[in-house]
């Protein structure tokens, strides 16, 4: 072979990820288990635990974390690019079927894996557009282009579930967009929670059924009130208002403030507790405290288990000086007394009551 070809085309060898063997690294952990019938690949989540991976089919657990770069450059210390990581998942992860699970940016990666890889099931919780560029919310990779479009011809591969927290502004961002619900997302469900959807599903003992049965478990979980179909907790227009008002809340200037006020007034009757929490925040900033108290009360009514809702309700009740509201706020704060600052807030409310 001539040197011309070698020099012109072949680059120096790039390090390949290690094979599938037990081992730990700063950003990865591989635990192989005897008799495993599948391999769980977890991105930025503590699920499944060893116990959860033992329900039904026992599975190996491969866990990747990357909170900083969000997998845009692979997994530091394991695979130096997302290309290398996907290549490893194709071959290095063995012959067993894979179950991909991820939250946030990890969920986006699980979805990409669901599109590209054969024989995978996925559980993507609160996927975020962080792998996209330019604010484009489509499921895209900055260097690959629109991955959802790439997978549009492979609906048969989409054996998975995408779960979105309906009380969360990030979830509202996704639910406000039609184009984010193509076949690549599998069965889209809503969770009545704010923040970590994985934690919610774990509290409701729903993780293992979703891992084991995928979308087939959704009907049973819906009947149990654990989750709902897509946009069950609001319309696309309402989720759009949720997203826009949240963006306006954090923007500076009079124009975003007036936009946020218009939106919260327009959708004042929407009972989504995440929305009412945002509404209370906007109204409080405008010093419309009685209206803010009502909104916070509605948030607590449906979302009593969310500490943010309860704290905001308590603070507004204290500012309004309403004794009845203060007493109720002190009561709803009781489950959270071990958290910092909450006993002091509760004491001040009790004094007011």
């Amino acid at each position: 072979m001539s040197d011309v070809i070698s020099d012109a085309t072949l680059t120096p060898a790039v390090a390949s990820p290690p094979p599938l063997v037990n081992g730990n690294g700063p950003n990865h952990r591989i635990a192989l288990r005897p008799g495993a019938g599948c391999t769980y690949i977890a991105f930025n989540t503590d699920a499944p635990t060893a116990a959860e991976a033992s329900v039904g089919t026992t599975g190996n657990i491969v866990r990747f974390t990357d909170e900083v770069e969000r997998f845009a450059y692979g997994v530091q210390g394991f695979a130096d690019s997302l290309d290398a990581l996907i290549c490893w998942l194709r071959d290095g992860s063995g012959e067993l079927p894979m179950r991909l699970v991820g939250e946030g940016a990890g969920a986006s990666l699980a979805l990409i894996g669901g599109i590209l890889l054969p024989r995978v099931h996925f559980l993507a919780v609160n996927p975020c557009p962080s792998l996209a560029i330019g604010g484009d919310l489509a499921l895209a990779h900055p260097f690959w282009g629109n991955v959802a479009a790439l997978g549009a011809n492979h609906p048969s591969h989409q054996l998975g579930v995408t779960a979105i927290s309906a009380w969360d502004p990030a979830g509202a961002t996704i639910l406000s967009r039609d184009e984010l619900l193509p076949p690549a997302f599998g069965t889209v469900i809503e969770l009545p929670c704010r923040g970590s959807g994985i934690a919610y599903l774990r509290r409701k003992n729903a993780l293992s059924p979703l891992f084991e049965h995928g979308s087939d478990a959704v009907r049973e979980l819906r009947d149990g009130g654990v989750l709902e179909r897509a946009q069950a907790y609001g319309t696309q227009r309402q989720f759009r208002a949720f997203h826009d008002a949240n963006v306006a809340l954090w923007a500076k200037g009079p124009s975003p403030r007036s936009l946020a006020m218009r939106l919260v007034e327009r959708e004042a009757a929407w009972t989504n507790p995440g929305w009412q929490y945002l509404r209370a925040t906007v109204l409080r900033r405008e010093r419309l405290l009685p209206e803010a108290l009502t909104a916070a009360s509605l948030a607590v009514e449906s979302g009593a288990g969310v500490v943010e809702f309860c704290v905001l309700y308590g603070r507004i009740a204290r500012e309004v000086g309403d004794g009845d509201a203060a007493a109720r706020a002190a009561q709803v704060l009781e489950p959270f007394l071990r958290q910092r600052g909450i006993p002091e807030l509760r004491d001040s409310l009790l004094a007011l009551a």
Binding site: A8, T9, P12, R90, D91
Partner: protein, 224 residues
């Protein structure tokens, strides 16, 4: 705040594979993508040649390109190297392939895209026959993407004439376009257009002054 006098803002070049900064014409220090890799990737995406399920034969790919295409296409991607050449990476399986002697053995209509990184240089006077064999291996509507230099029917390196032809559209006897046209006995289309070519060269971090040289490396022929 304006720039101080005498300070020239250097244009930022980023690798289309990994978004790390790189210098013009250099290999990427992070992912190892060569200018040929970058031009090839931008041609594939710019011309929308990649689709799920498309079989792609890629002779002499660089490491970055091989990883990217294998990640996207999986078993549909067939990277090849000349017999005896060590693979640039170990996480993608390469197959031995000698275009000069094995192109005719490819099953007809078996590939949607065939990319020849630089192997035609080795084929010498056999280029027309190799092109014909590769054309037969393309499925209807398939695409052939060439990189590197090629030789004409007399064994001479044709890159100079190629550049001129691609730039002006002339169809001289010694041109690559003329050779393809004679070989396949049908019209061929030379892509990408100049606008896209300039965009690709910018995005690939290759000097604009090399436009004439690299144009044939992104020469694209689409079967009718």
């Amino acid at each position: 705040m304006s720039e101080p006098a005498g300070v020239v803002q250097e244009a930022a070049h980023t690798c289309p594979f990994c978004a790390h900064r790189l210098d013009l014409d250099d290999d990427c220090g992070h992912c190892g993508a060569t200018p040929q890799d970058r031009l090839g990737w931008l041609a594939l995406t710019g011309l929308r040649l990649l689709q799920p399920g498309f079989s792609v034969l890629h002779h002499l790919p660089g490491a970055a390109m091989a990883r990217r295409l294998y990640a996207l296409l999986g078993r549909h991607y067939h990277p090849t190297l000349p017999p005896g050449m060590p693979p640039p990476i170990t996480d993608v399986t390469f197959h031995a392939f000698d275009p000069a002697s094995q192109a005719e053995a490819l099953a007809p209509s078996s590939y949607r895209v065939i990319i020849i990184g630089a192997g035609l240089y080795e084929c010498g006077a056999a280029v027309p026959a190799v092109l014909e064999a590769l054309g037969t291996a393309l499925s209807p509507g398939g695409s052939l993407l060439f990189g590197g230099n090629v030789v004409d029917a007399d064994g001479g390196i044709a890159h100079k004439g190629l550049a001129a032809t691609a730039m002006t559209g002339r169809t001289g006897v010694s041109s690559f376009a003329g050779m393809i046209r004679r070989q396949f006995k049908r019209d061929c289309r030379l892509r990408p257009g100049m606008g896209l070519t300039k965009e690709m060269i910018d995005a690939a971090a290759v000097q604009q002054s090399l436009l004439r040289r690299v144009t044939p490396q992104t020469l694209f022929w689409c079967q009718a």
